[in-house]
């Protein structure tokens, strides 16, 4: 079976798992009112993924990806992401509007960069999309993992910046399969690093994942929590050396 067919099958598995979890939220998008309709269009599964109200891949017309004029040296400098301005709320609202998301719950979506800041992505609306935290198995937490992995690979000289940008913009799930491990079956990466809150130290700008040796040793006055490693890194924090 060709790689393309394997990937398509993986997408179909992901699609059906997402449909089974997403329930009524499909009704918010007129393009995908009926899960039955989507199931009957298996051949167009890839296109359907970004037509759902909880898109797990961006619409390539709305979000083709965009990069800043930066180099490997720029992005591999500690604190790089802190130099990039936060996306204004007005721009985030435009992104939700473009994707037809009129109502949302706190913690349901992240207006995410298709090409992440740490990979040289820009804040252009062409690089932003509403990514779900809730869909399974693919969601914002999973994308964070491949972003972090690619960032490390760039800085270690294992992949060119432009290649990493192209791969994540083209198909971030394929990039996940390629660099993290095959995720066609939900839970395939169960041994991956834990997700969830990480703890940072305001003074040292070092962060610790759950399970790391010093996770509980950060003094209360210096302690700051992030929802995950990606958020800590965007804030300019670096993973503790004893936490790899």
């Amino acid at each position: 079976m060709s790689k393309g067919r394997i990937l398509t099958r993986a997408r179909l598995v992901a699609l059906f798992v997402v449909l089974s979890f997403s329930g009524g939220c499909l009704s918010r998008d007129p393009k995908s009112r009926s899960s039955t309709k989507v199931k009957n269009q298996e051949i167009r599964a890839d296109a359907s993924l970004y037509n759902m109200s909880a898109p797990i891949v961006p619409d390539p017309k709305l979000t083709p990806g965009d990069t800043l004029d930066v180099t490997k040296d720029d992005i591999c400098t500690s604190g790089y992401s802190r130099k990039v301005r936060d996306v204004p709320q007005s721009v985030k609202e435009k992104v939700y509007s473009l994707y037809g998301i009129s109502g949302r719950q706190p913690g349901e979506y992240e207006v995410d960069h298709l090409i992440s800041l740490e990979l040289g992505g820009s804040n252009s609306i062409k690089n932003l999309w509403p990514e779900s935290y809730k869909t399974k198995p693919w969601n914002a937490y999973e994308k964070d993992k491949v972003e972090n992995k690619l960032h490390k690979m760039i800085c270690n000289g294992q992949i060119e910046l432009k290649d990493a940008q192209r791969e994540i913009a083209t198909d971030w799930m394929a990039a996940f399969d390629k660099y993290i491990g095959n995720k066609s079956t939900p839970g395939a990466d169960a041994d991956d690093e834990q997700t969830g809150p990480v703890v940072g130290n305001k003074r040292s700008h070092i962060y610790h994942r759950p399970g790391c040796p010093d996770y509980d040793r950060v003094a209360k006055k210096n302690r700051v929590e992030f929802k995950d490693a990606a958020e800590a890194e965007v804030a300019g924090y670096t993973l503790a050396g004893n936490c790899d």
């Binding site: 800043l68 930066v70 400098t77 130099k83 990039v84 301005r85 007005s90 721009v91 252009s124 609306i125």
Partner: protein, 98 residues
């Protein structure tokens, strides 16, 4: 028009040495060798700030204003609300991007 605190904090006190516009890009060079590059959109860039010192930066939608200590303003039409402004120091190190 809201203050861009992040960029204001960096640029405040720097004096403009040169302004150039080419290929839809405005470049503002400062006396310390730093360089602000702005992707510009349609519209006129108003103001000739050479020799003036930055007091603050404000932005609303696709208009970026550089306010100077003498009260004058350089108003720049941006290509996009985000992803249009970049600042590097004299060594080429990135100081700011939006």
């Amino acid at each position: 028009m809201a203050a861009n605190k992040k960029l204001t904090k960096i640029l405040q006190g720097r004096t403009v040495e040169k302004v150039a516009e080419m290929d839809k890009r405005l470049t503002v060079e400062f006396h310390d060798g730093s360089k602000l590059t702005v992707k510009i959109g349609d519209g006129e860039t108003s103001g000739t700030p050479v020799g003036l010192t930055v007091k603050g930066i404000r932005q609303k939608d696709t208009t970026l204003n550089l306010d100077f200590t003498d009260g004058s303003v350089l108003a720049v039409p941006l290509a996009e609300e985000t992803s249009s402004v970049m600042l590097r120091d004299a060594n080429g190190t990135l100081e700011y991007a939006d």
